[in-house]
Symmetry: C2
């Protein structure tokens, strides 16, 4: 009798796996923001006691690394048979899409002390694209640095919230930040009628991307010429 009872019992919910844990963590961070991701809440959503997680990830740091790797895995692989420029362009835009889907990801990414294999893979393949496109090692190196550097440091937030600029607030700011206000109003007028709207981030990103890619191309030509 005891033998006939095989599966029934308490349905014994399917066991945790590292993958289930990572997925749940990403989902939790996606809605609610990264600061609402704690081991305890994560365990809750998985219907499990906090310490159970530690059978699948070493600690929270490793959890974060795993989440990042998941995001990187979402980046489409390079297309084949196109020019270096097209391929790099597509790759970068794909990476951007992945990071936009998980707004917490870039911040975590930048706070991680050492890169995971997935990150190394991505960078390696990116450099491979340039090498295959005819860039010298040295130039590929410069180019990689250029793509990784941000000149301002603190700018993004300003453009992020451009979706809703209160014209009244703008007027109040005008004496103190004339250029910012000028820019904000100009951007609003550009894209149609509504004062909200702000500027098109995707367009701006591609603008920057193309400016750099063109710069790279010029450098490459100079390189082969000499």
């Amino acid at each position: 009798m005891a033998q006939s009872v095989r599966q029934p019992q308490p349905p014994r919910r399917d066991p945790l796996t590292r993958d289930r844990v990572l997925r749940a963590a990403v989902a939790l961070a996606d809605d609610g923001g990264i600061e609402s991701l704690s081991m305890r809440k994560l365990a809750d959503t998985l219907g499990v006691v906090p310490m159970a997680l530690y059978k699948h990830v070493a600690n929270k740091e490793e959890l974060l690394d795993g989440m990042i790797d998941g995001v990187i895995a979402e980046i489409d692989p390079p297309i084949r048979g196109a020019s270096w420029k097209t391929t790099v362009r597509q790759r970068i835009l794909a990476a951007r899409q992945a990071l936009l889907r998980h707004p917490w990801a870039s911040r975590i990414l930048e706070s991680r002390p050492n890169p995971t294999p997935a990150q190394l893979d991505y960078l390696n393949s990116m450099i491979g694209l340039f090498r295959a496109g005819g860039f010298s090692i040295g130039l590929a190196h410069h180019v990689a640095h250029t793509m990784g550097s941000r000149l301002f440091g603190f700018t993004q937030a300003l453009f992020d919230d451009s979706g809703s600029v209160d014209p009244e607030a703008l007027e109040q700011m005008a004496p103190t930040y004339p250029y910012l206000v000028e820019m904000a109003t100009a951007a609003s007028h550009d894209d149609g009628s509504v004062v909200g709207g702000g500027c098109d981030d995707q367009y701006e990103f591609e603008f920057a991307l193309d400016l750099l890619l063109d710069g790279f191309e010029r450098l490459k030509q100079r390189q082969s010429r000499k």
Copy 2:
């Protein structure tokens, strides 16, 4: 008698001020990293009980904003009478120096949800430089975005630790990350003899900066021509 005793008593250490708090916080973060900055430790170093801090800053968030503003205040003001390109170049390099002095700053900066007045000032004056240099509003806008965008997202860490690359480890990585290894070894050979050393970050940064500035200049010329 009781009257004659004015200052002596317990020397009554000079009182906390918002400024002293911020300074101590920056110092604590500078050596020890940002993660070792807690309200409690900060209070300790000031010889005070944790809650005393809250008489001078509203909460930890505001403390961080205040620290950031301190860093921004360290950025040299724009030089006068030079071309837009020279001025912008100097300003950006000055900002970089300030951020390098406080390695925690860029991460905090990027995690802050809304910009402080000091940040707005900085950005406003930067855009002013472009406007004064003859850039149209629209172009200044594009340029600002370009300077604020980072194409890779996750690259910096790779170059940071380039100070000490173990050649043996490099050899081991070669099959998996051929391009990275190729680049690392090439960079090491470049700058003299030692395999350590890695690449010159300052040089790479200026390379990227100049590439962009040249790109901006070309855009500006095209703008005036049409």
